[in-house]
Amino acid sequence: MNPKLSLTKNLFDLLSSMRFAVSLLSVLGVASIIGTVLKQNEPYENYIIKFGQFWFGLFEHLGLYDVYHSGWFLVILLFLVVSTSLCIYRNGPHMIKEWRTFKEHATEKSLNAFSHQATYQLNSDTSATSDIDSVKQQLSQFLQAKGFKYKFKLQADGSELIAAKAGTHQRWGYIFTHVAMVIILLGGLLDGNLPFKIQEILGHKRIETLDIPESQVPEVSRLDTNNPSFRGNMTLPEGSSGSVAFVRVRDGYLVQELPFRVALKDFRIEHYATGQPKSFESDLVIIDPDLKQPVTKTISVNHPWTYKGIAIYQSDFQDGGTKLNFKVWDLFAHNTQTQPLAGAIFDKGILGNGDDALKVEYNDFRKFNIINMSPDGKGKPHNVGPNVTYKLRDNKGQAIEYVTYMQPMQIDGRHYFISGMRETVSDDFRYLRIPVDNDFGVDGFMNFRAVMLDASKYPEIARRIATNSLEGKKEPAVKKQFENSVVQLLTVFAQGGYNQIAQVIEKSVPEKEREGAASTYIKMIRVAAYEAYNMSLAANKKPLLVSSEENEALLRDSLNSFSDMFFYGSPYYLQLEQFEHKEASGLQLTKSPGQKWVYLGSVLLVLGIFSMMYIRERRIWLLLKPASSQVLFAMASNRKNLDFEQEFNLYREQLKSLLA
């Protein structure tokens, strides 16, 4: 045999074999797992942090960050198409033949070799032709009643064969399911990124990785309106419009031109009574030169709008540049002066001046935050109101991220203003909890804090404590010494809160006495805080605190908050006072010409599976032998199972009584 020919044949045999097909199914399954275990399409920095530079590079090379669009994965899919097609090519004709044939060429010898067969002896006088005919008729009726189609075939020896079949449509199941797989896979590939991939390899297209305005993206990274299939995103702030979508590819993107312009009139979120979101809706306008006037339609989740073959989906939402007004407190100032600060999400601002100036980057604003605040997590989540996320960046480029809530939150029955900070994205936020004052404001704490930081107030605080606690002992020297120690303690506390006191104790107090010293200092700080708080209240002409459990808690919280202040990372507390909410709707735009093919394939697949499993192919042969007055009954199925056994036994008995 020609070796070239035999190689081709071997290849054909391999590719069209079921062994190969099943192996491919397994490989596809295992390959698919990768993409579910490794989170796909994350920003590449995340992968570098996770794997380190070496593995990151290797995995990038293997296309593991977007497995399902990588070259090797597409090759597996293509192989599946090829293998399945060859299976159809190889087995299809056989299936059609089996579907049509009655197998009327079976010989007595071959029938005798069947595992399911029986022989019936007819009455000896039935050898007459008329009787044979009547038996033939009976058997035909029998087969008909059982739903069999049959065919007569006169044998050379004068006997007559009735060859019958039922359920051979099952054979179409094979063809349907396999053709369906090919159609589905090809439809899917049509909607995949194959055209772009080829253009990329040829050097016609390239992804853009820089964050530049859309208008500056070069032609090589733009896809024109003739692009047959894409899946892109578009973020539209309320009142704006756009005519391009962004297609994310690996660590970059492509710009997809649209044949029309989309404008967002309004974006709405509706909420359930519990605060959870109920619906996201966008009022869209399409402006198209082909249209006499723009068309308006509202889309929502599960209700897209298809225009010119492009489906527009409500995908997500984000801030669209909400305007914000803050009151900025300098946490370490000895006074209670504040400055106003105005900005908008996605804008930048400046705080402070000179070398200490910080750049403010307003990142996100959320009007609703549904949080579960119960300590064990079992309570009901509820809305805690708006928050704003921003970064403060120093002149070295180091940034700290903050998230600050506008309204106080209830934690363990008490209310606090919450502001979290973190240095890197991978950290959790650490929160500063500022207790509310009696007017539910932040001012009470801020005024108290100013007094606690102002060294000129310490002698007065010390004097008041001395007066209250040293009633019996009027000796000026003792009093003076006591007052001095209070002033000293407050000075230390103002330098770094409880932490600073702990350090001083560690440095200057012998180990045995530390615990005692600490508890004395803490007690004294408490008392001092009480005086300081009342001084701040008096200065602002507010009613003074009286001794109560609640006020005790307020002082404790204020002192904790004061201590935590030193870990807040910056001296600025941005109190959100007002906002003008502006949202942006995230739209997804897709064009998928393969969809109808995939659906067609799906219908075929279901039809195929049902006919393959629920149509049972069975064949019956009845050989009438006038010479010996015998009828040979043989039955076969391409799938032998219990149902077949039962059916055979039933027919055998029924035929027996029929022919008796």
């Binding site: 079921m18 399954g29 579910t36």
Partner: protein, 381 residues
């Protein structure tokens, strides 16, 4: 001789129907017409289609399987009775005696759990004692569990509308609800085969997987308060949910059933309990039938899911972890069926494979929600 010809004549379905069958179908159709007249304004065209489609489907299945017809009627009667006790107030679920202890949605579901546990114990007892009567009791207990489970879901459906009209939805929307659905569908599939193939000995095995789910439901209820009805996130507000989820759970249920039969098969093939269990051929056949049903419905469910995804997420296939794992499950059973149907493979290999299939299926059903994130994360633990 012509008298014989009648012996083998098979009656068609319509010829076999008696007046009770027709009465049953009439009641089912009347029920759906009533629902249509009363609630048409809340349904879209597809949902109206589902309503009457369901009436036709349950009539047909009820004709084929008389016990199911009885179940449908009893679920209907008890659910309506329960609903009538509410007087439109959610609070009465814990005030009215019958509701509080028997047929409020939560109580009915608890009764389902109790009956499933009892049924399992009884099935095992029957297996060891070779007691036919005890086996019948176990079957009755399983039917009772199914009855209470369905009543619980129906009443839960009603209760969700009592919370607020916009909160109301069919109870197949989160992990808690679908676990109940899983128990019910697996039990029904088993009961069907039990009646058809007379395999009461397998009940203990199948009830194992159901009771694992019952254990989960109990933990989920008492530790996580998952039984509280939550409103639907926007992505789930779609008629697709009504068909996608049940189709999927017929798949999961069948695969679980097959795996439990496989475990019995493996034990028997090693000589354990062999004299008590059905023959290997019967178990092999049951395993195949179950996987075939599961595969067909899982295919439909995945296709329906793709169609829904095309409407909700902007593409029929996004390689979301849930989708991908559905594909893996599908590929797994596709390979299983290839080997069995084309290669004619039988026996222990396929039984082991069906067991491994259960692990893959469980991961797709539960593990994806627990360990992987994605679009499909409706049930977190």
């Amino acid at each position: 001789m012509n008298s014989h010809s009648l012996d083998y004549q098979q009656k068609t379905l319509l010829q076999r129907l008696n007046w009770q069958d027709w009465l049953y179908a009439l009641i089912v159709v009347a029920g759906s017409v009533f629902a249509y007249v009363k609630y048409a304004q809340y349904m879209d065209i597809y949902e109206v289609g589902f309503l009457f489609g369901a009436a036709a489907l349950f009539s047909y299945i009820g004709w084929q399987w008389k016990r199911l017809a009885k179940l449908v009627l009893m679920v209907g009667v008890i659910s309506l009775f329960s609903v009538s006790l509410y007087h439109g107030e959610q609070a009465r679920a814990t005030q009215v005696f019958l509701l509080k202890y028997l047929i409020s949605s939560q109580s009915a579901i608890m009764w389902m759990n109790v009956f499933f546990v009892l049924a399992m114990a009884t099935y095992w007892f029957a297996l060891f004692k070779r007691s036919v009567f005890t086996g019948k009791v176990a079957t009755a207990l399983t039917w009772s569990a199914v009855l209470f489970g369905f009543v619980g879901l129906m009443v839960r459906w009603y209760e969700s509308y009592l919370i607020a009209p916009d909160v109301g939805h069919i109870p197949v929307s989160n992990l808690y609800e679908v676990f109940i659905l899983f128990c019910l569908i697996t039990a029904l599939l088993y009961l069907h085969y039990e009646q058809k193939l007379n395999t009461k000995q397998l009940g203990g095995f199948v009830l194992l997987v159901i009771n694992a789910a019952v254990g989960f439901i109990l933990w989920y209820t008492f530790d996580r308060q998952a039984h509280n009805i939550q409103p639907l996130v926007p992505a789930l507000q779609s008629y697709w949910m009504k068909i996608h989820v049940p189709a999927n759970f017929i798949g999961y249920g069948s695969f679980s059933l097959a795996a439990m039969v496989a475990s019995a098969y493996l034990l028997a093939s090693k000589g354990f309990l062999a004299s008590r269990l059905p023959s290997l051929e019967v178990m092999d056949d049951l395993m195949y039938k179950s996987i075939a049903v599961g595969f067909a419905f899982f295919t439909i469910a995945t296709i329906l899911g793709a169609m829904w995804a095309a409407e909700a997420w902007g593409g029929y296939w996004s390689w979301d972890p849930k989708e991908t794992w559905a594909l893996i499950v599908w590929l797994n059973y596709a390979a299983w069926l290839h080997l069995r149907m084309v290669k004619g493979l039988r026996g222990a290999v396929l039984a082991w494979w069906a067991l491994v299939g259960l692990i893959v299926t469980t991961f797709a059903f539960l593990g994806v929600n627990m360990f992987l994130s994605g679009l499909h994360s409706y049930g977190t633990l």
